[in-house]
């Protein structure tokens, strides 16, 4: 094989790899959306892998705009988006792979839950028998089978939320986009729904979820996208994002029997910027610029055996803290 042929082959491999990558990702390529003069989202570049990805940000941050752009309900003013390799302006292909549970709490009038889900499966082009089967599976997954033959208009808010979810998952899509899917659900159903999301993600689906309940987002997400004023402020695994925020040293609480002694030992190290005793004198708050080095240091202290360490817990290594640092408490998540 000549050098030129080899190069061509390598080029082809690269093309194939990038193509197969694109086919497995949700890709935003320099996407902006303006509503006249008003900015919706600006210069968004993202590659979203399978799993649960949460969109977090205050009101007007651009979460719903991003979701509507992903589903072709809105068209980008600039840039382009592909969902598993399919451009969003091709609904015929896109919605065979994508389900979207919007925030719009409205339904076609006069339908029962079952009729609602089934009707839109028929609109997909599914035959009647298969539509019946898929409807039952979807209703069962959202625990709504008992109320399937009641009119949607008579459903509670939580039930309406679940029937929308059933409609979004009925055709068994590979990508599921959910705008505030936990709104209006009672704690029990919330837990069931989160378990369902985890199960779907485990099956290899992409789940894009917007939620304002940070601890739930933290619990269920594989990665987060933080948005503010139409810009992506941070994205990735929440702990990874936290690690990169060097301007905000990590806070760790160490419960031990000799916190003052521990404070003296750790304070010598340049990555420790603050050490403060807990009010009960049985713990030490440490702020460090390098959590990994601090944990190594702590290992050495434990190995020396002079201080009994009961527990070590980061106290600002969660989404709430990251949110607070990056976006602040001004807007409050929506």
């Amino acid at each position: 094989m000549s050098v030129t042929e080899q190069k061509v082959d390598e080029g082809l491999d690269e093309t194939r790899n990038s193509k197969s990558e694109v086919r497995n990702f949700i890709v935003f390529n320099d996407v902006s959306k303006f509503y006249g003069e008003i900015l919706g989202v600006n210069r968004i570049n993202l590659q979203i892998a399978p799993g649960i990805t949460s969109l977090v940000g205050p009101n007007g941050a651009g979460k719903s705009t991003l979701m509507n752009l992903m589903t072709g309900l809105l068209r980008p003013s600039r840039g382009h988006i592909t969902i598993l390799g399919i451009p969003t302006d091709q609904p015929e292909q896109l919605f065979r792979k994508l389900g979207y549970c919007t925030q719009f709490d409205s339904f076609p009038r006069g339908l029962t839950g079952r009729e609602f889900v089934r009707s839109f499966l028929l609109v997909h082009g599914t035959d009647r028998k298969q539509a019946d089967e898929l409807t039952t599976i979807a209703m069962e997954r959202v625990s709504l089978l008992d109320a399937a033959d009641r009119k949607v208009a008579a459903y509670s808010k939580g039930m309406r939320q679940r029937i929308r979810l059933a409609q979004a998952i009925a055709h068994q899509p590979a990508v599921l986009i959910l705008d505030e899917p936990l709104n209006g659900l009672d704690p029990m159903v919330r837990a069931e729904t989160i378990a369902l999301f985890r199960k779907l993600a485990g099956e290899g689906l992409h789940l894009i979820i917007s939620s304002h309940i940070l601890h739930e987002v933290d619990m269920m997400s594989d990665r987060v996208i933080l948005l503010n004023n139409g810009y992506v402020v941070a994205e990735g695994n929440i702990h990874g994002v936290r690690d990169e925020m060097e301007e905000h040293p990590m806070q760790i609480l160490i419960r031990c029997d000799k916190p003052s002694r521990l404070a003296a030992q750790v304070f010598d190290h340049d990555h420790v910027v603050e050490a403060r005793l807990h009010d009960d004198r049985l713990g030490l708050f440490v702020k460090t610029r390098d959590a990994d080095r601090f944990y190594l240091l702590l290992n050495r202290v434990v190995a020396e055996g002079e201080i009994n360490i009961e527990s070590v817990a980061p106290i600002d290594d969660d989404l709430s803290a990251v949110y607070q640092y990056l976006i602040g408490s001004g807007g409050g998540p929506s």
Partner: protein
């Protein structure tokens, strides 16, 4: 290497059009929409509108009103022609179609439920066709039956035996079918126009009123401009020509073999525009 090169720029293979899928989708959309058209809360106004020309004729049925023309059976075809042209066609069918077809999309936008269609793997043109057919069938069923009922209500109660002969042995049946056919053509033409108006305009009442004025003033327009209207073609088909008054500009009626295909061709063009428009449509209920 030639195989690899072929992989870089594959020759696009032309897929056959999925007609059977489109047909299934049109049927599913049609079923959803027809139920809404007939049983939705918006249908009440439609039924009232359809009853509007039936009411006066039903009230007059038990007795013959005074006036020479009411005593003379030969005048009834003229009475119906005026009643049909003035009230049924230009008012009830016109506004009925406006209500049905403008609400096909606008109604879903107001109800915030259009996104369910937009989030389905449906070619947007297929959606337009499905919705249009549902509106067409609704309007045809309502207004054709209304036309037939009105004609029978005018003739039969006052001259039962003459009417029986008129409809069974005379020109009555052909006139009845012609009026029904004109109503169907009106639904086809006005339907397409109002469907597009419902897509293009946030407040479709204004273009509807403009068209209403244009259609009413059609008798004053020069012959060339007359042809840019639905009513001109429909008037050309009426079995009993009605005088449009001393100020009317007389124009040759368009023969049926031109009028009917022209109306259908214009309808197809308008639906094509609607299909093109809806492909680029965004859903932003907040700004509606």
């Amino acid at each position: 290497m030639s195989t690899s090169t072929a992989e870089i720029s594959p020759t696009p293979v032309k897929q056959p059009l999925p007609w059977s899928l489109w047909l299934r989708q049109v049927r599913a959309i049609f079923r959803l929409e027809i139920e809404k058209n007939f049983l939705g809360r918006r249908s009440i106004l439609l039924y009232l509108l359809a009853l509007l020309p039936i009411g006066p004729l039903a009230l007059l049925a038990p007795f013959t009103p005074p006036g020479r023309e009411w005593q003379d059976f030969t005048q009834y075809n003229m009475i119906f022609a005026v009643y049909y042209g003035g009230l049924i066609l230009r008012t009830v069918v016109f506004f009925g179609c406006a209500w049905i077809f403008m609400n096909l999309f606008r109604g879903d936008i107001i109800d915030r439920s259009l996104h369910f269609y937009f989030l389905s793997p449906v070619r947007r043109e297929v959606l337009v066709v499905g919705k249009y057919f549902s509106g067409l069938v609704t309007s045809i069923i309502l207004f054709t039956s209304m036309t037939i009922i009105c004609m029978l209500l005018l003739y039969v109660p006052h001259f039962p035996s003459e009417s029986t002969r008129f409809f069974l042995d005379g020109p009555g049946m052909s006139q009845l079918l012609t009026y029904a056919g004109i109503t169907i053509l009106a639904c086809i033409g006005y339907g397409a126009f109002f469907l597009v108006v419902g897509l293009f305009f946030r407040n479709p009442i204004i273009p509807a009123i403009v068209l209403y004025g244009w259609e009413w003033l059609n008798f004053l327009l020069p012959p060339l401009l007359k042809k840019v209207s639905v009513i001109h073609y429909l008037n050309s088909l009426t079995p009993v020509p009605v005088s449009e008054g001393p100020f009317a500009v007389v124009a040759e009626p368009t023969p049926a073999w031109i009028a009917i295909p022209s109306l259908i061709a214009v309808t197809a063009l308008v639906l094509f525009i609607a299909g093109h428009r809806i492909r680029h449509m965004e859903i932003r209920y907040g700004s509606e």
